[in-house]
Every structure is written in C-alpha cells, then in structure tokens.
C-alpha cells in the first residue's frame, strides 16, 4: 500500500521505538500533525521550540534513548538551534525534524524558509535535507542510527512540505549503509596492555571520568576498575553520577566515599585539583580535557603520564598531549582494563597507595567544600544540601547555568548515572526547566528537580504551562539572589566590582507567576523556612516553583581564575 510522506514519518518512528515527541506545529509540518492522532506516539506540545529541543535532550539524557522533536520551518527551526548546539556539545542522542518549504520553493526566500541544514551543520553530528519521498525512510533510519551510535549527538532531518505529501510504497530498510561511518568501539588490546604497565608503575594515580562513562553505561565498570587499581576518582561536571559520591553502610548511614575526589576544574574541589596536579598517572575516561577542567593547559597534571580512553579520536590529544591513547567505547575499554588487572593483580596495592590516599585525606580535611549558614539569610548552598537531604538523594536533578549549576554540582551528591542533567559544554541558561520536563515525561513517578537561578529560569519560563497541562510535577528551586550571579562574581573578582547589567532587582513575583500558570508557588525568605518549603513542595503532586531568597553576593568557591593552573585556587 502506498503511504504519504507524513505517514511514513510515523511508521519509521514506530520502527525506531519512539514513544514521545516534543513539538510545535506550523505550516510546513501540518501534514505530519494531521496524521499524528492515528499513531500511538505521545506528543508534548511545547510553548517555544527551544523548549522542545531541551525536553528531547532531557528525555534522552535521563533514559539513554534518542530524544525526538518536531518543529516547523523557518523560525520554528531556528528556535531549536540553541537546543541542538547544547545537545551536540554534550553528546546527547537526538533527532530533530524540521519542516521545510516545498522543494520547488527552496532557495526562493519563501515564507518561513531558512537554510536550517546550513545553519545547523556545525552543531549537529550530521544533518539531512530530504528531497524525495523515496529517501525518507532511509534518511530517518540513518538519523536514528547516527544519533545513538559511536559518540552520540543530534541529527537534524529537514522535511519539505511536498515530500510529506508525496506517496510511495513504504519499505523500511533493514540495515544502514554508511561507507564513511565506522566508529571504533573495540579498544585495542596492545594499548590496554601499555596502560596496564603504566598503572603498575604508578604511585599516585587519579581516574578522571567524564560524561562518556555515563553515555556508555559504564558506571559499574568504573567503580570496579577504581577498586582494582585503588585509584581515587574525580569527574567532570558531565561525569557526576558515574561514580558514587556517597556510600551507605548496612545501617543506612551515609558517608562520603573516600575514593571520591569530587568534581575537578574551575569550581572543582581542593582535593580533586590538588590530586590531579600531583598525580603521576592520570587516567581519563570519556572526558575531553575541556578548558573549564584544565585551566592553563601547560599546568594541567604536569607530573602525570596520561592515559585517555575515548570513543571519539578527535578528543584525544586535542588540548593535552596524551601518552597512551585508547580509542574505543568506555565500557569496552574498562572491561578490558579490568580483565588485564584481574589477571595480573598489582602487588601490595593497598600499601603502595597508602601514602597517596593519606595525602588526599589531608587535602580533603584542609579545605573541604564549605559555607556558613548563620542567621536568617539563606545561603544557596544550604538550599541545595537540604534538597539532597530531604529526598535522600533520590531525584533527577537538572540545572540552569551559572552559580546555581555549580552549587548543585558541589553540594548535591550524585550517586547514580543519569541523575544530573546539565548543560556542560554549551552552558545554556534556560536548559533546566524544559530538560526537567523531558525527564519527567520519561519517569512520571520520579522526583525531578530543576535547580535554577532567578536569571536562568526566566529564559524558558513559558514551559511551566507545558508541565502544568501535561501533569508533569517537576519541582523548580529558584536560588534567587537578584543577580546574574556568576557574571557578578567575575565582576567582583576581576572587574573592580563593576556590576554592569547583572543586577536583576526588577523581577517578577515568582509565587504569583507560578499561580498564574496553574502551578504552585512557595517562597522561603529565612533559613528556617527552607526545610518546610521543600517538604511541602515534595509532597505536592503538581509542578511547584520554590523561590528561595538567598544571600545576594555569595560566590562559588573554590575558583580557578581563567588562565591559571588548577592548583591555584581562590578558596573563599
């Protein structure tokens, strides 16, 4: 039977196991929306296309599945660009379908026409313009395949209106044939053995794990590997959750995992940055030596031999020259490392590491992450700690970008992969709320918290209605300091306290705003109100906006000034 392009679209999505799409209609995609009710695929109607992209992203990060969004041509397409770039920087599997003007009009500056394939080329893993309905099924199959394999990423498919209306016999290709795409997943055994030799010689090893461990579902392997070679673990922002920050004893008492160094880099912990700066071996797994991690590149891990496991060869020796590169899937590489380490265990390992671990313990005790909650004024860190405590860590946390994000990373202890969804690479303000909605769609019964700032939350606040009308009970915790706090902090430290354009004294009444959207608004202005507000929010089965009026000029510390070695931290 012949099907229309718009029907083929849904047939393909069903074959790919798509359960939900995040979208917003328009002229170029009405054909698709016309068919939507006939298919068993949930559609979440957003209020701005950027929201659709971030929701698909949040859904993908929370589940590991491919997130899908659907928007119209022109402004619909361009509105997704920030969301696509966000996903690209953090290697999130997504397929973005954009409408396009009919093929005959392409290039004519037609109404709502934009060259979205050209615009999105540098921020997608790959993209397509489908010119014939004959190619549609193949392209969709390839798009999903590319999005989820190798180093995942967003793939955009541009769909001209006439292609959606054209008819053809539907056949879904059985396999994908891409001559130029063969990701190396299988780690080279020779390199694994070289790594093993380096590990054997090392006295002060540090494992530096990134988002790649989470993407590869290699958390268990990471923990086992760290245990075998008795190495402490630090992670990037993207890697938080890949290694348990807290350990629970049989009585249920929780304490900080002694092998856990915390996050490293610009706002990393003292012990993580000192450990990396003094290590004789750095084992990077699924991390990419981002400038927010390395600080001054020449001063990064200056005493260490570097092993680097990554599925993307371009990440290796891009910023920092690597001694032992291992191209491959993180899970595959860690499994092989575990095998060789088990076969040839390191002798007297605990004794060999005792001096190193003692040093790390000292660093931890000298400068732990710290703040003082005194008096009535709420410290933002206190709010984050209370959020963690009152849900016992059982939540999916999203963040906006800036101080709120860093405090979330520092003070919420992430124990499981896919529990922190944050825009690490691009640093997209406005990510947190839609990402939380996407995660809540995937896990309707879990607690999803967006830790937000008063600046960021206003960048996609319109999606609150999406949460309300789809009964998605996300909890937003606004740390309201009446500033664009992170920029203000830089101005304080490096720009003579010239707080130009960072003061947000003129703000909406967030409680009334929540009310206007049909959500619940709660406010805490004094320290003693923090706990009751959080408890109440967690007990309500609706979206809740919590506003915490916090200390205005609190800073995020430690902080490595831009261009400095990561051992040169400003400590409160």
């Amino acid at each position: 039977m012949k099907l229309k392009g718009a029907q083929i679209f849904f047939e393909c999505l069903q074959k790919e196991g798509v359960e939900v799409i995040f979208g917003f209609p328009g002229g170029a995609v009405i054909d698709i929306y016309h068919e939507l009710p006939k298919y068993d695929i949930r559609h979440i109607l957003v209020r701005h296309e950027q929201g659709a992209a971030h929701m698909a992203d949040g859904y993908a990060r929370a589940t590991g599945k491919v997130g899908v969004c659907l928007v119209t041509s022109g402004p619909g397409a361009t509105n997704t660009v920030t969301g696509i770039a966000t996903a690209y920087m953090d290697s999130v599997p997504m397929v973005i379908f954009t409408g396009q003007v009919p093929t005959a009009l392409i290039g004519n500056d037609a109404f709502q026409e934009v060259d979205i394939v050209g615009i999105s080329r540098p921020c997608t893993k790959h993209n397509y313009l489908v010119k014939h309905v004959d190619d549609l099924a193949t392209v969709i199959k390839e798009a999903f395949f590319l999005a989820r394999t190798g180093r995942p990423g967003p793939v955009l498919v541009d769909l001209p209106k006439d292609v959606l209306g054209a008819q053809i016999e539907f056949r879904y290709p059985k396999k994908v044939e891409l001559k130029g795409y063969r990701p190396t997943l299988d780690a080279h055994l020779g390199q694994i053995k070289r790594a093993h030799q380096a590990i054997k010689k090392s006295k002060r090893p540090v494992i530096y794990a990134g988002g790649g461990v989470i993407i590869a579902e290699a958390g268990e392997e990471l923990a086992r590997f760290a245990e075998l070679i008795q190495a402490p673990v630090t992670t990037t922002l993207m890697g938080l959750g890949s290694f348990p920050a807290m350990l629970e004893d049989p009585t249920g008492r929780k304490e900080l995992n002694p092998w856990w160094l915390g996050m490293l880099g610009m706002h990393g912990t003292f012990r993580a940055n000192m450990a990396v700066s003094n290590a004789d071996l750095l084992i990077a797994v699924g991390a990419r030596f981002d400038d927010r991690v390395t600080g001054k590149v020449s001063g990064f891990a200056p005493k260490a031999k570097i092993i680097h496991v990554d599925v993307d060869p371009t990440s290796i020796s891009k910023n920092v020259v690597v001694d032992i590169p291992i191209v491959g899937d993180c899970k595959n590489a860690l499994q092989k490392l575990i095998q060789v380490c088990e076969k040839e265990p390191l002798e007297d390992i605990e004794q060999a590491r005792s001096a190193w671990m003692e040093q790390i313990r000292q660093w931890r005790e000298t400068y732990p992450l710290a703040y003082k909650q005194e008096g009535d004024i709420i410290k933002p860190q206190y709010v984050v700690e209370k959020l963690y405590e009152l849900c016992n860590g059982n939540a999916i946390v999203t963040t906006e970008v800036g101080q709120n994000q860093m405090w979330a990373a520092q003070y919420f202890h992430f124990n499981k992969p896919r529990t922190l969804l944050t825009s690490g690479g691009l640093g997209t303000m406005g990510y947190g709320l839609p990402a939380a909605i996407g995660a809540q769609v995937a896990f309707p019964d879990r607690l999803v918290i967006d830790i937000a700032g008063d600046g960021s939350i206003q960048m996609n606040i319109q999606e609150l209605i999406t949460a309300v009308c789809n009964c998605l009970p996300v909890k937003v915790a606004i740390l309201n300091n009446r500033y664009l706090g992170m920029v203000r902090q830089w101005q304080e430290l490096f720009y003579d306290k010239n707080y130009c354009a960072t003061c947000l004294d003129a703000a909406p009444d967030f409680v009334k705003l929540a009310d206007a959207y049909g959500a619940v608004g709660l406010r805490a202005t004094r320290a003693e109100e923090v706990e009751p507000v959080i408890r109440e929010a967690f007990s309500i089965k609706k979206p809740v906006l919590m506003e915490f009026v916090v200390a205005q000029e609190e800073g995020v510390y430690p902080m490595v000034p831009a261009g400095k070695n990561i051992s040169e931290m400003l400590l409160v």
């Binding site: 080329r121 313009l129 130029g180 795409y181 371009t314």
Partner: protein
C-alpha cells in the same frame, strides 16, 4: 586562505560521497575550527558516487593530526589520505594570460618551450598559456612571465596521488 606562521604546508586527499552539501561540510570544518585552506580542488572520481578533494593546509603536527581526525569524523567522508605518511606526486595546472607584442613573443615561446607548456589562445596582443607542474615549476614560470607582463592567472589548485609501490 591566510598563511599560518608556524607550520608547513601539507597536502591531504579526501574521498567523499558525491552528494550536495559535502564540500560545504569540509570547508565549514576548516573555517569553523580555524584551520587554514591554502587551496582546494574537487571533482568526481571513477566512481560517480564519489568525489575526491585535494587540499593543501598548514599547521604544526598537532593541528594536522586534528585536521585528519576531524575530516574522518565527517559522515560523508569515506577516506582520508594523509600524504605525510607516503611518497606522492602532485600537479597543478595554470592558465596564464601574458602580454605578447613583437619584442616579447619569441621570448614567451622560448619560456613555453622550456617549461613544456602550451599556448592555448592567441590574440593580437596576448597569449594564453597552459602549464602543468608542481609548486616549484608553476612558481618559476610565473616569475619569468611576470617580467614580461602577466594580466591574468587562473590556477586549478593541486591534485595529488600516492606513488604506486615499487615492488
């Protein structure tokens, strides 16, 4: 097309799928990541489904390695030929329009002869010359003819191919 101060020129062959937009992916990669393109040629191969790009770039070893890896990462790139690793031949063709009057015609024809070039168009005041060769040869003929008055030059950019194994 700016010259990078640190690093030498380097030739890379790229076999790509012959589809719309592929060239812009390659060119966009260079501009987006701040790599240099000194010159670039592209044409279909013996397989109409594939095109071959030859490009000359510059940079230190680390940059060149990134360029090769980034090219390989493009989905439409089938093969990257890194000529650093092999002996290769390279050629470029240039069309040179040179002023030719009674005093200079004989000299121009002598130069054409020495360089095994060809005169492909003649008018009362101009010769158009076709010459093929490597960088050095093209530079040399341009210098000699330049003294006689070149009015226009069109160059193809370099194409390159690995030498076949001798055994």
């Amino acid at each position: 097309m700016n010259m990078h101060s640190n690093g030498q020129k380097h030739t890379i062959g790229v076999v790509v799928e012959n589809r719309p937009g592929v060239l812009s992916r390659v060119a966009g990669l260079f501009s987006g990541r701040g790599f240099n393109i000194e010159c670039l040629t592209v044409a279909e191969t013996i397989d109409p489904g594939q095109s071959r790009i030859t490009l000359v770039t510059s940079g230190d070893q680390q940059v060149l390695e990134q360029i090769v890896k980034q090219l390989n990462k493009l989905i439409n790139v089938i093969k990257v030929i890194d000529f650093r690793e092999m002996e290769f031949v390279n050629r470029e063709m240039a069309l040179i329009k040179v002023r030719a009057d009674q005093q200079t015609r004989a000299e121009i024809l002598r130069i054409v002869d020495i360089f095994r070039a060809k005169v492909v168009d003649v008018s009362p005041h101009f010769y158009t010359i076709e010459v093929t060769g490597d960088d050095g040869k093209i530079a040399a003929i341009l210098e000699l003819l330049g003294q006689l008055g070149i009015t226009e030059v069109a160059r193809t950019g370099k194409v390159a191919m690995a030498r076949a194994k001798k055994h």
